[in-house]
Subunit: 289 residues, 2 copies
């Protein structure tokens, strides 16, 4: 059976999954998205993702074309039709198809597209050795808290990381402060074993994995400080890590080629990863080795 | 005959003009575009638009899927197939279709899409009375010189203008300096009858109409000063106007409800509009009343 994707009410062979050239997502990046992991066909932190989707839609004044229950149904149906046990669900809602004009169209129904892919787990070596990141100027717009498809600066930064053989690009503002990664949030552990991460304001995209990991950290007695940190602070931190739906908790052991701490994944990071794996297990029954 | 659009080598009924949901234009706003006016089936300033397209593509490391001669052929063919005499040609090139992943895909051919619409001339009243603009914070990313489809901040600002009954939103930075409009460039005329407009650097999208009008101004003896100007300076200017492919030269007579100069289109602006009309006539034979 081939891959099946969902487009505006229809389950289609993936190769036939198309949208109109005047879909405002294509002409204006006028839309939002979510990426949700699933294990044993169970969506991880589904409610949190849908809450964020609702916030993103509201920020752009886009009305979802379907009610939340229908959305949940389609997500499950698409996973079932693709016969996937573990994987990632991608969902995109745009303002819909209208004759090209910048202001919002009237009486246009939003577009809803979904696709599933196989799981994108970090490699074992990325966990045991940690990953390297580079730093890049943060060129993005001012409303990074909206999970929009306006991702051009993000892909350009990620491409630079890719060319440099790094896992991710950390984005640095003109004052030398790090906001987050191009496609992930990040945090450092200081000499007091405190976790420092940028507050979830308009400067970053507040990740679901970030929120879950911060809650886990607090529950396990780690002090969490939500403030921005400088590149200099990161390079001299005891530990560093990044979080995202597809990366989970990933130790960062090199920043611009400089070793973080002793250059190996740190105990706080590995503890948080272990607790995050327990979080996944509790919701989906997925076991990690 | 219905509307015909072009998608990756095929001329299609407009309603059938679709792209794949994994076109990177749809998922990442990973693409660029041009809007070119044509009159009497002749494209206005075609070379300048294609030069800018080439610059935008190079900035994003996208390789055009067709050679320039083919591009020029398709543009003419599409105008002919739509049986349009005057109108606007929209062209979009994205990095193409690839399994969703942020770094650039390998061996993926870029997508090319074109559509034509009828002319979008300013209304007579907009020229005789001028238009009003509002001001909005400039929330855009740092590379506004690339004519990318990452236009979410632009449409949000234009929507606010639309709700306010204004023609355009002028974008103001934190220091109170105006960069340009959401979908147009702008300029003011000071008490010495000098034309002041933001330099064509990374902070603005250097419009083709802007370039042509500045050349026209210089040739007619108007001193052109390329520097940013403040909102305060704009509100106390003698004249103000905006330029774009679909607006030509449009007098701006109200900024945030405050009259510019005597509140009527000024002589320098109207002279530039008249000379711009002559520019159009010289290239296309289009006559203006």
């Amino acid at each position: 059976m081939g891959k099946i994707s969902y487009v505006n009410g229809r389950y289609l062979n993936h190769r036939d999954a198309t949208v109109h050239i005047e879909d405002r997502g294509y002409q204006f990046s006028d839309g939002v998205y979510e990426v949700i992991a699933f294990y044993n066909r169970r969506l991880l932190d589904e409610d949190l993702h849908l809450q964020r989707l609702t916030r993103s839609l509201a920020a752009l004044h886009i009305i979802s074309p379907v009610h939340e229950n229908s959305l949940r149904f389609v997500m499950r149906e698409l996973i079932a039709r693709n016969n996937r046990v573990d994987g990632t669900l991608y969902m995109q809602i745009t303002r819909g198809v209208a004759k090209r004009d910048h202001p919002f169209p009237h009486a246009t129904e939003a577009s809803l597209v979904m696709a599933v892919t196989g799981p994108k787990m970090p490699k074992a070596k990325e966990i045991t050795e940690g990953v390297g990141v580079i730093t890049e100027p943060d060129l993005r717009w001012a409303r990074r808290d909206i999970k929009s498809i306006s991702l051009l600066p993000n892909i350009l930064a990620k491409q630079k990381a890719s060319l440099a053989g790094a896992r991710e690009a950390w984005l640095v503002d003109e004052a030398g402060m790090i906001s987050e990664g191009a496609v992930s949030n990040n945090a450092i552990i200081n000499a007091k074993n405190e976790l420092i991460t940028h507050a979830a304001d308009e400067h970053i995209l507040g990740g679901i994995t970030r929120d879950v990991v911060l809650n886990i950290a607090r529950k396990s007695g780690i002090k969490v400080i939500e403030r921005s940190f400088s590149l200099k602070e990161a390079k001299t931190a005891r530990e560093a890590f990044l979080t995202s739906t597809t990366s989970n908790v990933l130790p960062v052991t090199r920043i611009d080629g400089v070793a973080v701490g002793n250059g190996k994944p740190g105990p706080v990071t590995l503890k948080l990863l272990s607790l995050y794996h327990e979080h996944i297990y509790a919701q989906t029954g997925k076991q990690w080795n």
